[in-house]
Symmetry: C2
Subunit: 679 residues, 2 copies
């Protein structure tokens, strides 16, 4: 008696014998091969495409193409005609096994496929979203066996997909009966079930086979900007990214002024909650419009944000976050619906996942960085810094991860800087000062040329240079130091002291003139003594936070530094080190993680196992509170100079020679005042 | 070595030995004795009161009061002073075991106590509500171990009450932080967990020990009226009952006109949904006001209603219920929140349970009757009838239960009756016609006297007799037949034919004059030929439904009849049988179940195991659809006469002698028309 044909699936290597006539999809399911299907084998969805190869392994000689699989059938022919099937491909639900065969499951037919994004933050996210589509044919109602339409849908989902428990949101229920009838009792159900398990939730129902796909929004909700990535929940591809200003800025530029606003104005927290929710709602519609999709096909949202934004998003008064002991209302992740957040432009039942906060000062944005960059899986000791209005700092390796937040203020973002502006076209983003001539050259956003290259002005225009952004001001301050125009205490010298006519008096101090188009009615861009003080305060806070974690960990140095955030992508590691923003490490050990918080939001959107992982990670992280730690103040004061302690930065001597200059006793007096204030 | 003291609890009989010094509450818990406690043994809640008795059983001679339990302590003394402790009572959490003792747990200290209501529908409902109170002391936040306030509450609930998983509604989360601080980290949590299991849901949080209790609303949502019973979730006591008209009446008096309104007017279903939800919201506030409680202490609602009201309550378009095959959107129970139903006057997180519908024409109201009256537990075959605008009919015994609905129309409720009115003061609710004199005597709602008793008119006043309600019109028609004023076809004879001057012409037919105060500007109350036709149609529909179930079951008779509904409570079984409303059974086998649907709603409110039971019962009930069943039409036509078939009512001959009269051929003609229409 001859044996049943042997079927081997690649790349999994899973194999088994099946009777002649078994559909490939059936064989794959029995073997637990990762082969997708939405329509349940009806030849509609094309998700189960496979690439058979023939003859290679049969003991009975070569199995020909004709002997291995059934002929191309009418369903496949129709599908090919309508939408095109790649050469060599078959539909797994249609092709039947006839003889020994090797069947390759191409990546796009795998449920848990990895999608590699070709962006700055290239990242392979294995797809395992909480929401999936299921095509079913539902039994029609029968007066003699009365049951609800929902119960017959449930029966179909159980029979065809093995789904045991179904729950339906009222808003979905309201459309259930017309949708079933419109689809002629054939519907595609979007079911949500996350890492917490439990019942499947029916979040949308589409008539017939739903071809338009499902989408998710990964949202990085910052104090200043709200950025969203519209993501295809099937492929993981980001199909549009967009952002807008956080409208809460009108209640206070930084977080603490918003907390104060809530404290001083009864109902102020609710005002801010409404404002941010409306903005998110608007952003969702805008981004869907840009991508040309229906907002009703957005079925999931993930949010990363700092604790204050987290509370204001959820409608929780952030007042406790403004005072010791900085108690969060909840430190766990939140699972909600769009309706819970009054996102009226989206489906009521669209699901929302808000990543957990780490502590009262260390938010879900830091958790998202941890999810994206995985400090706990690093063999060497890594320091991760996400700089925004606050800096979130993570330090760790496989043994332990620590986290804190440091109040850098908005100077690194170009705010509170005399010529500061947000990173936008016209902003100086890079600058070099010649140590000999003390003359600057720079580059502005929107133009590839340096200012001393031919054609620069033609392209930019004299009044097209509008200000200086975060990365620009950091480079400017560092370059002032390198060029000997500023002493270690941060004082800019006079024209006589420095020999540069660009050092001009400004009140009792001096400023450095980068660009002056005032004669033509354009801007005059300088670095003032006040700007340098703001940057000094910010960088001291950042450095002190990092040092505090290193103290807690009992180390004097770290192996590598990762700069996260949109800002981190543009910062020059060399200048950051000259400034003393980050501890000293070899320059090639400073990398940028791009928008790691946004990547974390995308990961949580695409993969529910990673949601479970970040929840576990956050519980295990050692939280360090900077506000109450006397050593933080000590580190802060000690970090004021640029660089504060040269012996702490041996790497620096390989990068630059910092001139020994001194333009006054201001730094000492300043340091003295600080110490007295602490006493 | 002497043994540990023996402790015996009554009434459970559970016993065990415990070391000297063990608190009685601890011993009870270890033995699984049903002894309540909300405060977890802190001497605050007084729920754990016990009544010790001494000495009766000790082998070592009598154990004196002093030897058996620890002395009355300061906590007990303070409690007694503040709120009073009954003589002989101790607090189980304070009294410690010293020697052998018998401890009685009085009913009010049992968690699963049975509460017997002293009402018409007296019913012992064992208490096992979904929502319970838990008093806890929560750890204060610690900057060095940052965790959310919610997580510390969760930890306290786990530690003190063994509660494993907690979920909090966003609306409760919003009040979490201020409540914890207001209560000095001592709070009472209201947790909801029903028969489906899963996580406990935090539905309310009260500062300190919450003494004001928790309440639930059992709501009978009828087409015409909405009735609510405000119930203490601790004791099961109904502390207020109230009702109001269903405002949907302005969209159509009966269900089918409301379905038509939804069909004809886009958005009409949503209009009706808004109207009924607003009414429920208003009713909740009114009833709370009557009882003097805070609506914020209402944490649960249960609803029973017919399928159309069910859909309109849930915001589902009822259009499918208006046409074959009468498909329900869902036939399962619904678990929701007050926010889902836009009940803005209640807490967002208050829980809503809507009982399951049986079929497209047999609603959750019929399910509630089944829950209350339990036909499936009856040893003899019982027919249950709940008469409203539709009649819900159940037939069953321990072997099987069948259900159908019959379109009686609103005549039984006094609607579509010339002098008809709702059951309210001034309505004639009972009537007798003397077979000799053909003179009527009657009783009106609001007066105990019959109209021929002395003092009746003094009490009621001539114009205080305002109309005739459902039970009144049924008695009137039956009495007309008994008195020989009406023939079996339903025709009223003329004054000449009957010898009664009260039979007066009305167009081409006659009416019977019951009361005439028109001379004084008061009402003139008659029973017209049209009234009799309306009652005939209604009773034929009801009888035909009952007969159809009997056919399905294969029986010619039932053992007993239960009349449910507020109407059922007032109907005279003898008259119902003369009218031919119900199949013939011995008169003592006809009982009233009072407002069984409302009782079902209260049972579901107080006991989650009964929720599971009704869900199972509803699945198991055999559903019979009257609308498509030719035999229903046959029974309907055959049931037109009064009584339709004398040989089918042997019991009747023991009750009354029905005169052989005939006043015309109208009944035959009517029957002939009907038969032709069916053909």
């Amino acid at each position: 008696m001859s044996q049943d044909p042997l079927v081997v699936f690649t790349p999994s290597g899973k194999r088994g014998r099946f009777p002649v006539g078994t559909p490939v999809l059936t064989a794959a399911r029995k073997l637990g091969v990762d082969l997708d299907s939405v329509c349940g084998g009806r030849g509609i969805c094309s998700k189960c495409q496979v690439a058979p190869s023939f003859g290679e392994f049969s003991k009975h000689g070569l199995t020909s193409r004709e002997e291995a699989l059934s002929d191309w059938n009418r369903v496949e022919a129709r599908y090919d005609e309508k939408r095109g099937l790649k050469p060599g491909r078959r539909l797994g639900c249609q092709a039947e096994i006839r003889g020994d065969v090797v069947i390759d499951v191409p990546p796009e037919s795998q449920v848990h496929r990895q999608i590699v994004r070709k962006a700055a933050s290239a990242r392979a996210i294995p797809m395992d979203p909480a929401t999936r589509l299921y095509y079913v044919e539902v039994a029609e109602p029968d007066m003699h066996e009365p049951s609800g339409d929902l119960q017959r849908l449930e029966t179909a989902l159980r029979r065809e997909w093995g789904i045991e428990r179904l729950e339906a949101d009222l808003s979905v229920m309201a459309g259930l009966q017309p949708t079933l009838r419109k689809g002629g009792w054939k519907v595609t159900a979007a079911l949500y079930r996350d890492h917490a398990g439990g019942a499947h939730k029916l979040t949308a129902l589409f008539p017939g086979f739903h071809e338009a796909g499902l989408y998710g929004l990964a949202i990085d909700l910052g104090s200043t900007t709200i950025a969203a990535h519209l993501t295809d929940l099937d492929t993981g591809a980001v199909i549009a990214s967009s952002g807008l200003m956080n409208p809460q800025i009108r209640f206070g530029e930084d977080l603490m002024s918003r907390v104060s606003y809530a404290m001083m104005n009864p109902g102020g927290d609710q005002e801010m909650t409404r404002a941010v929710r409306e903005a998110i709602d608007r952003l969702a519609v805008e981004i869907a419009g840009e991508a040309g999709i229906d907002p009703a096909h957005i079925l999931e949202l993930t949010f990363v944000c700092n604790p204050v934004m987290h509370h204001l998003l959820l409608g929780l008064d952030p007042v406790e976050l403004g005072q010791a002991p900085f108690a969060l209302a909840t430190s766990e992740s939140a699972r909600l619906t769009a309706r819970d957040l009054d996102l009226g432009q989206l489906r009521d039942a669209a699901r929302v996942y808000v990543l957990p906060c780490i502590a009262g000062h260390v938010g879900a944005d830091a958790a998202a960085v941890a999810l994206s960059e995985e400090p706990g899986k690093s063999e060497d000791l890594v320091l991760m810094v996400d700089v925004g209005t606050n800096a979130e700092i993570l330090l760790g390796d496989t043994s332990r991860v620590l986290a804190c937040s440091s109040p850098t203020g908005p100077a690194f973002e170009g705010a509170q800087i005399s010529s500061g502006q947000r990173a936008a076209p016209g902003a100086i983003e890079a600058i070099r000062i010649d140590p000999e001539t003390k003359e600057p050259r720079f580059r502005v956003i929107g133009c590839e040329l340096w200012s001393d290259e031919p054609g620069f002005l033609d392209e930019v225009g004299a009044s097209g240079i509008t200000g200086i952004c975060g990365s620009g001001i950091i480079e400017a301050v560092a370059e002032l130091r390198i060029a000997g125009l500023m002493d270690p205490s941060g004082l800019i010298g006079s024209a006589e002291q420095t020999g540069s006519a660009r050092c001009v008096p400004e009140g009792r101090t001096h400023e450095y003139l980068i660009w002056d188009a005032s004669a033509e009615g354009g801007p005059r861009i300088t670095v003032t003594q006040g700007d340098i003080r703001a940057i000094q305060l910010a960088k001291s806070a950042l450095y002190a936070g990092a040092r505090l974690l290193m103290d807690e960990r009992g180390v004097e140095k770290v192996d590598r530094v990762v700069l996260a955030g949109a800002f981190g992508a543009h910062i020059s590691p060399r200048h950051a080190m000259v400034l003393g923003m980050i501890p000293d490490v070899p320059l090639d050990k400073v990398t940028s993680a791009g928008n790691a918080a946004g990547t974390g939001a995308r990961i949580a959107l695409c993969n529910i196992a990673r949601r479970a992982e970040i929840e576990r990670m956050v519980r295990e992280i050692t939280k360090v509170e900077t506000a109450i730690e006397p050593r933080f103040q000590e580190h802060f004061v000690a970090a004021n100079a640029i660089p504060h302690k040269t012996d702490a930065f041996p790497e620096l001597s390989r990068l630059v020679t910092l001139p020994q200059v001194s333009f006054g006793a201001g730094a000492d007096r300043e340091g003295g005042r600080r110490r007295r204030r602490r006493g």
